[in-house]
Amino acid sequence: MSQDITGSVTTETYTDSKLTGYRVTQLIQRGAIYLILIIATAAFLIPLVWMASTSLKAKQNVMAMPPTFIPDPVMWSNYPVAMTSPGFDFPVLLKNTLLYAVLETFGIVISCILVAYSFARMRWPGRDFFFILTLASMMIPGVVTLVPLFVMFSRMGWTNSMLPLIVPGFFGSAFNIFLLRQFFLGIPIELTEAARVDGASHWRILWQIVVPLAKPAIATITLFEFLFCWTDFMGPLIYLNRESLFTLSLGLYAFRERWQIRYDLMMAAAMVVTLPILILFFMAQRTFIEGIALTGVKG
């Protein structure tokens, strides 16, 4: 400022003071960004912390006001009580959930690899037409096929079994096929063509060249399909009516219906359903984050 008055200012001091001013505003900006991020972090995490905290509280402390985050006493026993309560038989629920998730995911991965390879690297009449049909089918809202599919499966005598949830997986799914096809197309054509010239069959090229190169994409669809099955509510709700077939999601819903005032136990049950997914996330964080980028940006 004073430089302007004197009018005899060197360029050096001028840029200097401009830089400090720039730094100060930048510092304030940075500070504001971190402040907002920390507030947002609290908003996103507090509900989960509250779930964990409530799950460990004694019955009489659950509704204490003002609320406290550290349970005193810590009731670990809420977990065994919740996990063996009527309607929430944990070992059975876990077994059913794994049966559904593992088999359905296995079916999806195998079938989608074959279909995606066919769309990406093999020539057959009608291929492009069926691919466009596949893309269009992704826009069909699930609710319109709900009733006819239920009618179909109940005519086949498949309701009240895992079959309607698992078997369709072995026939592929549009989004996963699309995702894998895009990834397969990105594999240099020279690699597969060279193998063709050497007389390798499509079957061998697929499993020995394409699949190893497409590991990131395959890991992504495996993970997301497993996650989908684990968290699926509507499918099990519609097709599974017998308690011995319930999955964890459905069991937790039954739990909510019966124990609606015992928030300590309800949160313990919710933790039990959520924790495996959180562990999966921490184990496969990169696959999750990069996989979403794969689905959302290039998709």
Binding site: I36, P47, Y117, L146, V151, M267, A270, I289, I292, V297
Partner: protein, 314 residues
């Protein structure tokens, strides 16, 4: 004679060619999906249209009733329109607010900050919490008397909100819940932001662009395909909201004054409680047409506001 022999020869030659073998194998590889495409996508849509014109309880054959189901849902049954209104309300709140919040958080994360992967994980984790678990958690958080949210509101001097027990607040409560799960979109936006080439910003800076004009001129256009993708997914998903509402309302019931009765819940009630498969199909056809029209509208409008890099290069 000669010509047919020639044709036969060529036919058998064709069968032996690699192209033919590849075509057979290709169809074989794709066959499971082609079957599913017809049996679980195309046929059910046709069946839904057909059932919607009948009275059908699965046990007895469908009985043709013409447009009765449609007349019923638009006239003397008041609930479908109420449920459609509720779903549209939810969608109009959850989709734009979700996109804005995700965009805001993603822009913050893109400011070359420390701990990017930490914050990104924090925002993402709620999105993978199973719907049933997050629903019972929010039921507890939104408890009008001793819930954490109302405690927070009253401690900063705001009045208690009756949330799930009030016809006014139940839908905002579901919108709030949906915002907690916005992390999926945040991750997509962050990835899209990181894909924007640095040199574009540098070029804009040389032209004297400020923060806002860089955002308008570079960030937003290059982000627009990701915004379109999330907008379409968001509309399709939010209009079909079911799980959280079903869990919180304890079944396909509507909550206070049916203010929490969403369209798919009413459809579920008709299909699986009353086994009115014909009526439920009519309901599904209408929501199908609505979603289809909206999706087409968004795609049509996208030529006005979505920018694809390949276009720019032309």
């Amino acid at each position: 004679m000669e010509s047919t022999q020639k044709q036969r020869k060529s036919l058998s030659q064709i069968v032996r060619t690699n192209a033919f073998k590849e075509a057979v194998l290709g169809i074989l590889f794709a066959l499971p999906w082609l079957i599913r495409l017809f049996v679980m996508n195309i046929y059910p849509i046709i069946a839904a249209f057909y059932y919607s014109l009948t009275d059908y309880d699965i046990l007895n054959a469908p009985r043709w009733v013409g447009f009765d189901n449609y007349i019923k849902m638009f006239t003397f049954d008041k609930l479908p329109m109420k449920a459609l209104y509720n779903s549209a309300y939810y969608s109009l709140g959850a989709v734009p607010l979700g996109l804005l919040l995700a965009l805001f958080l993603a822009l913050l994360l893109n400011q070359k900050i420390r701990g990017l992967s930490f914050f990104r994980s924090v925002f993402f984790i709620p999105a993978i919490v199973p719907a049933v678990a997050s629903s019972v958690l929010w039921l507890w958080l939104l408890n009008p008397r001793v819930g954490l949210i109302n405690y927070g509101l009253t401690s900063i001097g705001l009045p208690r909100v009756p949330w799930l027990s009030s016809a006014t607040w139940i839908k905002p409560a579901f919108i709030l819940m949906s915002l907690w799960g916005v992390g999926w979109t945040v991750v997509i936006f962050v990835a899209a932001l990181q894909d924007i080439p640095r040199h574009l910003y540098e070029a804009a800076e040389i032209d004297g662009a400020g923060t806002w004009s860089k955002f308008r001129g570079v960030t937003l256009p290059l982000l627009s395909p990701a915004i379109l993708f999330n907008l379409v997914i968001g509309i399709i998903g939010s209009l079909q909201i079911f799980g959280p509402a079903f869990i919180i309302n304890r079944g396909p019931t509507g909550g206070p004054q049916n203010a929490g009765l969403f369209y798919v819940m009413y459809l579920y009630q008709q299909a699986f409680q009353y086994i009115n498969m014909g009526y439920a199909s009519a309901l599904s056809v209408i929501i199908f047409l609505i979603i289809l029209a909206l999706t087409l509208l968004v795609f049509r409008s996208s030529s006005l506001w979505v920018f694809y890099e390949s276009e720019g290069r032309k």
